[in-house]
C-alpha cells in the first residue's frame, strides 16, 4: 500500500487487543480510514472521543501493545486501468502474479451507489447453453444472481463454464476463502480457453487471513465499475464464496460486541450484502455489471440467514441439486428463479418460451407428487405414470448441467416431451401456441 508521508501519524500505545480489532488513542482520524499496525493493514471501525478502534484485516496475532501504528489518511483504494487485464491480485489489490505494479488512476473502493434513475432496464440475454439456466432461469446482463449449492456441488466448475460461454468483455473473479485447488482450477480453465486477457482476479485463499476477504467484493466491483462506466464494457463479476464473506463479517461484528441477530450474523447483514450485489447494473451507454455469485449452503438449508438475506437481495438464485434418478447434477426448477427472465424470454427468444417453461415445471411438480404417492405405497394413475416418465427425460435432456444447446432446441425438446407423454389439454398452454408448435 502506497502511503503519503504528509498523512502519517505514528502511535505506539495500543490499549486493547482482541482477535480482530485493537483500540488505541489518536486524534484527527477519519472514519473508515486505513492504518498500518506494524506491517498489518487495518481500518477504523469506531471512534469515541480519542479512542479509535481498528479492524485488523489479517488478524491481530502477534500485535504488541507497543507495535507502531500509522494512519494513512485515506480509505482503501485501488489503481484502475487497462493494465489490470489478465492480472491476479490479493485482497489488498497487490499483484500476486509476479507482474508489475499497476499504473492507473487511484480510486476509493466501496464508492457511492448509482442513482436509480440513471440505470436502464436490463435487456440483454446472456446465453449459457445450460437449459436449467437459459430455459428456466434466463440470465440477463446487469443481473445479480447466486448459485445456492451445498459444499460438495461442482459450483466453481459450473460458474467457470458460465463465465466462459457468456459473451462479455471482462470477467472479474473475486475469490473469498477459495481453496488453493479451486484457485488453480480457475487459473487453468481460463488459460486453456485462451481467455486470460479478459480476466482479472482478486483472490483470498484459505491460506490468507479471513477478515481480508471483506475487501474482495469492493475491489472486484471497483474494477468492474471502471470497465463498465469508463469503458462502456460488459463486465461479469464472479464472487465465490459469499458465505465465507458473511462469516468474516460475523467474526468482526462479534469481536466488536454487536448484538448478533439470526444465526449469529450481524443485524446489518442485509445492508452489507445489498451494498455489494446492488452494484450490478445496466448503464444506458452499453456498459453493464453482472454478478454471478456462490452462496454455499449447509445441507441445503436456505432458511439460514446468509442464503435467506441473499435471496431477498439478488435477482433470483440457481439451486444446484443432485438428481439421484439420473445420477447428474441439475438446476432445480422449483427453488431456482431468475427474476429478470421475463424481460427477455418470449421477446428475444421464441414466443412460446414462457409457456413451455411454466408448463414443463408444472408437470415436473406433478411428477414430484406422483413420486410421493409411490413412496407411500399407492397405486399410480395413468397420468402419474406419464408425469414420472416425462420428469425423467426432462431432467436428463434439459435440467442437467451438462446440457449445452441453443435455446430454440431447448424449446423444441420441451414440445417433443409434451407430445410424447401428454394430451394437449393436459399441458395448459395457449391454444394458438399449441396449434403452431405441438409435435403430435
Amino acid at each position: 500500500m502506497e502511503t503519503s508521508q504528509a498523512f502519517q501519524k505514528k502511535i505506539t500505545e495500543i490499549e486493547d487487543i482482541n482477535k480482530a480489532t485493537c483500540t488505541l488513542r489518536a486524534t484527527n482520524v477519519g472514519y473508515d480510514e486505513l492504518a498500518m499496525v506494524g506491517n498489518k493493514l487495518a481500518q477504523v471501525v469506531k471512534i469515541i472521543g480519542d479512542k479509535v478502534t481498528l479492524q485488523v484485516f489479517s488478524g491481530t496475532e502477534g500485535i504488541k501493545t507497543n507495535t507502531e501504528v500509522v494512519f494513512l489518511g485515506k480509505s482503501p483504494t485501488i489503481k484502475v486501468g487497462e493494465d489490470m487485464a489478465g492480472r491476479f491480485f490479493n485482497a489488498l489489490g497487490e499483484p500476486i502474479d509476479g507482474g508489475p505494479e499497476l499504473q492507473g488512476e487511484t480510486r476509493e473502493i466501496g464508492g457511492p451507489s448509482v442513482n436509480p434513475v440513471r440505470r436502464i432496464q436490463p435487456h440483454r440475454l446472456i446465453p449459457t447453453g445450460i437449459a436449467g439456466i437459459d430455459l428456466n432461469n434466463t440470465l440477463v446482463a446487469g443481473q445479480k444472481i447466486p448459485f445456492f449449492a451445498d459444499a460438495d456441488q461442482p459450483y466453481n466448475q459450473v460458474m467457470a463454464m458460465v463465465a466462459l460461454r457468456a459473451k462479455v468483455d471482462k470477467i472479474i473473479l473475486g475469490g473469498m476463502g477459495l481453496t488453493n485447488d479451486d484457485f488453480l482450477y480457475y487459473k487453468s480453465v481460463f488459460q486453456n480457453e485462451g481467455a486470460l486477457d479478459r480476466i482479472i482476479s482478486f483472490v483470498n485463499t484459505t491460506q490468507n487471513p479471513p477478515v481480508e476477504r471483506l475487501l474482495i467484493p469492493d475491489m472486484a466491483l471497483c474494477a468492474a465499475e471502471y470497465f463498465a462506466v469508463d469503458k462502456n464494457e460488459s463486465v461479469l463479476v464472479l464472487l465465490t464464496d459469499m458465505t465465507l464473506f458473511a462469516d468474516a463479517l460475523s467474526i468482526v461484528s462479534n469481536r466488536m460486541d454487536q448484538i448478533p441477530s439470526k444465526d449469529s450474523m450481524p443485524g446489518s447483514l442485509y445492508s452489507d450484502l445489498a451494498r455489494i450485489y446492488e452494484k450490478a447494473v445496466q448503464f444506458p451507454d452499453g456498459g453493464s455489471i453482472t454478478i454471478v455469485a456462490v452462496t454455499t449452503l449447509s445441507e441445503g438449508d436456505i432458511t439460514h440467514a446468509i442464503p435467506d438475506n441473499t435471496g431477498y437481495i439478488t435477482e433470483g438464485q440457481l439451486f444446484l441439486r443432485k438428481d439421484t434418478e439420473i445420477g447428474k447434477v441439475v438446476v432445480d426448477p422449483f427453488r431456482s428463479l431468475s427474476r429478470l427472465k421475463q424481460l427477455v424470454i418470449g421477446k428475444q427468444t421464441r414466443e412460446d418460451h414462457p409457456q413451455v417453461m411454466n408448463s414443463a415445471i408444472r408437470l415436473y411438480a406433478d411428477a414430484a407428487n406422483a413420486r410421493t404417492k409411490m413412496e407411500n405405497g399407492f397405486d399410480l394413475s395413468d397420468y402419474d405414470e406419464r408425469t414420472l416418465a416425462f420428469a425423467k427425460e426432462y431432467s436428463n435432456e434439459l435440467l442437467a448441467i451438462d446440457v449445452n444447446i441453443e435455446i430454440e432446441s431447448m424449446l423444441n425438446t420441451g414440445w417433443r416431451l409434451f407430445a410424447k407423454h401428454f394430451k394437449q389439454e393436459e399441458i395448459g398452454v395457449k391454444q394458438e401456441l399449441i396449434d403452431k408448435y405441438w409435435k403430435g
Partner: protein
C-alpha cells in the same frame, strides 16, 4: 442556532456535543469537507446527542462541526409532486447530476419556476382552518387543492385571495388573518414533518367501498376496501413485488405512491421504464401521471430508508386532504424495521425479540394507523389505502415484523412458497389469507348498491370449495386414489377448478393480468355453476378427465379478450362439456 461538534462515530451513528437546546428528531448537518451531511437526532443522553446520518460517514472526524436546523425532518408539499422520482428524503433523483449519488448532495422536490393555473375555491371573508381548500390547480389533470397549511393552528379569516389566473409556485395566493389579528401569506406550497400524522379532518369512518384491483384472488376472495390496510408477507421469490406492481398499475386510485424501501434498484427501474408508457385503463392517462415513486433502494443510506416510508405516507396524507383516493404501497416494510434494528443495535438499546427494538410493534401500529378513509372538514371523502410487504426471515411467519403487522392490518395476503414453487401465481394462499372486510355489513350494503349482491356470499362459497378441495387432497394423499370415494375426487377437482380459473392469474399476460369486476363476476358465476352441478362418476379418472378439459377451456377464456369470438368459443366448449356430462348422467338415470 445551536451548534455542536462530533465526539464519536460508529458507522452512521454519530455522537455530538451540542452547545444549546436540541430537539428529538431535529435535523442537523455535519459540515464535512465541502459538503453538508444531513442527520437526524434519535436520542439525547445528558451531554451527548446521538444522530443518525443519512449518508456515508467515511472520512468524518471527531471535532467536525454540526449545525442544528431547529426543524424536524420535513417534506415540501405543493403541485408538481406527481410523476416525480424521489429518494427517501424527497430529493428529486432526476435533478441530481452524474451517474452516482454523491454524498451530501440534494435537490429540490418541486419546480420552483413552475406556473400553475389557479382557480379560487373560497372567498375573501371566509373562515378557514388548516387544510381548508383555498383554490385548485390542475396537476396532470387531477384537481390539486391549494390548502391552508396543515401547520396552521386555530381559526383564520381570508383577507385576500388572488383571482383565477396563472401564478408561480411561490407567489402569494392568499393572506389569512389569525385570531390575534396577525397576517400570514400563503403560497401554493407548505411543509410538514414526516413523522407526525396530518389530522386536519373531521372523522375517520370504517371503510365500506371495494377497491377494484383487477387481481381476482384479491377482489373475489379477500377484497381490499378504499381506505383499508393490508400486508403481504412471503419468502423471497414468492411474488410480493410482482403483486404490488400489479396493484400499482391496476388499482382504482387517483394517486399511487410507491415506496421502494430497501429493495432492488432494478425493480424501481422497471417502474421508471414502464409507467410512462402504460395507460390507466380507467382514465386513459399514462400511469406515470398519477404515480409518485419514493426510491430508497437497499444500497442507499440505511437511515434514509427509515425516513422513506414516512415521506411516502406524508405525501399520501397531502393528497388525501384534497379528497382524493390514494393507494400507498411499501416494499418492503421489513427493510424499514431492519433499519430500526441496525440503529437500535448501534445505540446499544435493550433488544426485543430477534434483536428488533422493543417498541417495534407500536411503531408499526402507529404507522398503519395513519392510513384510512377520512371525512374532510368540508364533508368530502379522501382516503389512503395502504398495503405493505413483509419479508420474514427464513419465510417463517412467526417473527416480530409479521406478527406486529398482522395486528395492525385488516387484510392478510400470505404468499406460500409451495404455490410459488408450483408456479401457481399469484402465490397468495387462499385458505390462510383473509380480508376482515368481508364481515363488514357496510361493505355488503355497498356491493348490493353496486349491483353485485352475491359478491360476498360467493367469496365464502369459493373459499369453502377450496378448503374442501384441500382436505380431499390430503385424504387422497394418505389413502390413495382408490382408497377414497369418487366423491373426494370431485371435491378435489372443484378446488382445482377455482384455483386454476379464479386464483391463478398470469401477471405477465397482456389480457389475463387485469380482470375487471364484471369479467370477474362472469367467471365466478360460471365456476360456481359448475361446482354446484350434480354429477355422477363411476371412476376417479373420469372426474379428472372432465375437469382438466373444463379448466383448459376456461384458462383459454382468461387469455382471450372478454366477450370476443374466442372467448365465446371457449365458453361454449365449457357448456358443451358440462351438458354432455349432465346428459350422460341423466341417461344413466
Amino acid at each position: 442556532m445551536t451548534k455542536g461538534t462530533v465526539q464519536g462515530i460508529i458507522s452512521n451513528l454519530v455522537l455530538v456535543k451540542a452547545d444549546g437546546p436540541v430537539a428529538q428528531n431535529e435535523i442537523c448537518y455535519l459540515l464535512h469537507e465541502d459538503v453538508r451531511l444531513m442527520a437526524e437526532v434519535i436520542k439525547i443522553v445528558g451531554e451527548t446527542t446521538y444522530v443518525q446520518v443519512f449518508d456515508t460517514t467515511r472520512g468524518v472526524k471527531v471535532g467536525t462541526v454540526v449545525e442544528f436546523s431547529n426543524s424536524l425532518l420535513e417534506v415540501e408539499l405543493g403541485p408538481g409532486i406527481l410523476s416525480k422520482n424521489y429518494d427517501g428524503l424527497q430529493n428529486d433523483l432526476n435533478k441530481m447530476e452524474g451517474i452516482f449519488l454523491q454524498k451530501g448532495v440534494g435537490s429540490p422536490p418541486l419546480e420552483k419556476d413552475s406556473k400553475w393555473l389557479f382557480k379560487p375555491l373560497a372567498n375573501v371573508g371566509d373562515k378557514v382552518k388548516a387544510a381548508s381548500w383555498l383554490g385548485e390547480v390542475s396537476e396532470n389533470g387531477l384537481p390539486h387543492k391549494i390548502m391552508v397549511p396543515f401547520k396552521f393552528e386555530g381559526d383564520f379569516e381570508i383577507l385576500s385571495l388572488v383571482k383565477e389566473g396563472e401564478y408561480g409556485l411561490y407567489d402569494t395566493i392568499a393572506t389569512l388573518k389569525d385570531h390575534k389579528g396577525l397576517e400570514h401569506s400563503i403560497t401554493m406550497t407548505q411543509k410538514w414533518p414526516v413523522k407526525l400524522s396530518v389530522t386536519s379532518y373531521k372523522n375517520k369512518p370504517r371503510p365500506s367501498k371495494l377497491m377494484e384491483t383487477g387481481v381476482r384472488t384479491v377482489d373475489c376472495f379477500s377484497p381490499m376496501l378504499v381506505g383499508g390496510t393490508g400486508f403481504v408477507p412471503g419468502p423471497f421469490g414468492s411474488g410480493k413485488t410482482v403483486f404490488q406492481h400489479a396493484l400499482s398499475k391496476q388499482a382504482d386510485a387517483d394517486v399511487v405512491i410507491v415506496a421502494a424501501c430497501g429493495e432492488r434498484a432494478n425493480e424501481v427501474v422497471e417502474i421508471f421504464w414502464e409507467f410512462p408508457t402504460l395507460e390507466d385503463y380507467r382514465t386513459g392517462r399514462k400511469l406515470m401521471e398519477r404515480t409518485v415513486i419514493i426510491a430508497n433502494t437497499s444500497n442507499m443510506p440505511v437511515a434514509a430508508r427509515e425516513a422513506s416510508v414516512y415521506t411516502a405516507m406524508t405525501l399520501g396524507e397531502y393528497y388525501r386532504a384534497m379528497g382524493l383516493k390514494v393507494l400507498l404501497l411499501a416494499d418492503s416494510t421489513s427493510r424499514w424495521a431492519q433499519a430500526l434494528r441496525e440503529m437500535s443495535n448501534r445505540l446499544e438499546d435493550l433488544p426485543g425479540p430477534d434483536a428488533f427494538p422493543m417498541d417495534l410493534s407500536a411503531i408499526i401500529a402507529n404507522f398503519y394507523a395513519r392510513a384510512g378513509i377520512v371525512e374532510l372538514n368540508n364533508g368530502k371523502m379522501g382516503s389512503i389505502t395502504f398495503i405493505g410487504t413483509v419479508s420474514p426471515a427464513g419465510g417463517n411467519l412467526k417473527e416480530p415484523v409479521t406478527e406486529s403487522t398482522k395486528k395492525a392490518t385488516r387484510c392478510f395476503y400470505a404468499l406460500a412458497q409451495k404455490r410459488a414453487d408450483g408456479k401457481r401465481y399469484p402465490a397468495i394462499d387462499p385458505i390462510m389469507s383473509y380480508s376482515k372486510y368481508l364481515e363488514y355489513p357496510e361493505f355488503k350494503e355497498y356491493m348490493i348498491g353496486a349491483g353485485k349482491p352475491d359478491w360476498i356470499d360467493n367469496a365464502y362459497k369459493m373459499k369453502n370449495y377450496v378448503q374442501r378441495g384441500s382436505e380431499a387432497a390430503d385424504q387422497i394423499n394418505i389413502l390413495g386414489d382408490d382408497g377414497v370415494p369418487v366423491e373426494y375426487h370431485l371435491h378435489y377437482w372443484r378446488g382445482e377448478l377455482i384455483d386454476f380459473v379464479i386464483l391463478q392469474q398470469d401477471a405477465f399476460d397482456k389480457i389475463d393480468k387485469m380482470c375487471p369486476l364484471d369479467r370477474q363476476k362472469y367467471m365466478v358465476d360460471l365456476v360456481l355453476w359448475i361446482c354446484a352441478k350434480e354429477m355422477n362418476f363411476t371412476h376417479f379418472e373420469e372426474v379428472s378427465d372432465l375437469f382438466k378439459k373444463v379448466i383448459n377451456a376456461m384458462k383459454q377464456m382468461n387469455y382471450s379478450e372478454y366477450e370476443s369470438p374466442d372467448f365465446e368459443k371457449y365458453a361454449e366448449e365449457v357448456s358443451r362439456l358440462m351438458t354432455e356430462k349432465v346428459e350422460s348422467v341423466e341417461n344413466v338415470a
